[in-house]
Symmetry: C2
Subunit: 211 residues, 2 copies
């Protein structure tokens, strides 16, 4: 069994986190999907749970992981390490799970080079006005910060066409179903079926000599 690796990107405010949360709640009863979680050496913030929000590790542990090439990518930001585990992703894929990586367009480019079979999905807000409204409604940011987020969002959005799929998140439930349809459809791709249902296919072509 072999799962598929998915990259999910979107500008802040497009609804990516809520969609991933709902995807796993609604469609992962059989544990066929795995959401990749980053490693970090920073301390957990209040409410953050180990292995759910991050894998919290010591600097020594992190360095040992770097040593054995366990990361796709890692970075040191303000003296704290952050990394995306290649080992855990590969392990889940080899267990037949579809794996989801929540990264930006630059990370997506690197991942595609390393894992050419990756499927990538970009989630868009329905309009700039709606995106601004969602950012304002969060009530977290000043107008200046929101303006910065808006221009960062447009920069991110300008890369949408490097992705395989693109979801315009207008109605949440519609977008969630579309996201699930992408995952379901990929499980029907001929190469995936060939890998995961070889016994059935061997039975169907038993004793058959192709002309």
């Amino acid at each position: 069994m072999k799962g598929t690796l998915y990259i999910i990107s979107s500008p802040s405010g497009a609804g990516k986190s809520s969609l991933l949360k709902a995807l796993f709640e609604k469609f992962n009863q059989n544990d066929s999907m795995y959401l990749s979680v980053s490693h970090t050496t920073r301390n957990p913030r209040p409410g953050e749970v180990n292995h759910v929000h991050y894998h919290f590790v010591t600097v020594d542990e992190f360095k040992a992981l770097i040593e054995r090439n366990a990361f796709y990518e890692w970075a040191n930001v303000f003296d704290k390490y952050y990394g995306t585990s290649r080992e855990l992703v590969q392990q889940a894929l080899n267990n037949g799970k579809d794996v989801f990586l929540d990264i930006d367009w630059q990370g997506a480019r690197q991942l595609r080079d390393m894992e050419p079979d990756t499927q990538s999905i970009f989630i868009l807000p329905p309009s700039l006005e709606e995106l601004r409204k969602r950012l304002i409604n969060r009530g977290q940011d000043s107008e200046e910060t929101i303006n910065k987020r808006m221009s960062k969002a447009q920069r991110e959005i300008s890369h949408y066409d490097e992705y395989d799929y693109c979801l315009i998140n207008d109605d949440f439930d519609t977008t969630l179903n579309s996201l699930w349809s992408i995952i379901s459809a990929n499980r029907c791709k001929v190469n995936v079926v060939k890998e995961n249902f070889s016994q059935c296919l061997n039975n169907l072509l038993e004793n058959y000599q192709k002309e």
Copy 2:
């Protein structure tokens, strides 16, 4: 708006006709899909409805269609003409509909050459034993005919890996949902979204200069 052209193939008895019927009944309320129907000059059999089972035309009408290159392919079998209309398919695609062509692997090869953006789906029975059981349960054929159908089925099946998607029709409802997920997912492919939601995408990148 531009739809996607789908080829659906399967050996006799795998459930293709029932699946297409259920697909249109359950998922075509908004008339976004179109099932291509062949033209023929033969007479309707009892129960056959014009434009549903075939487009029944006269020999002169058929020859005029050939003249104006209206067919993807046509054939004369026992002095009766049969053809697959390129005109009607293109018209439906240009109206934004997804179009379904029910053809065999040889027709599929030709279509892919003519329409490279075609998506193709192969429907398989879960096993040879199950396929034989289904053919016997139809109660239409002698054992000899069933044996012939079985070896023809294996020949057809041997071409499954020329298709983009492959559905193993074990449980009908599961297969129907998988079929629908393929169609839904294709509507989220970046090139399809680009074509069909250009106004939304233009809004999102308004005044933006890509670096």
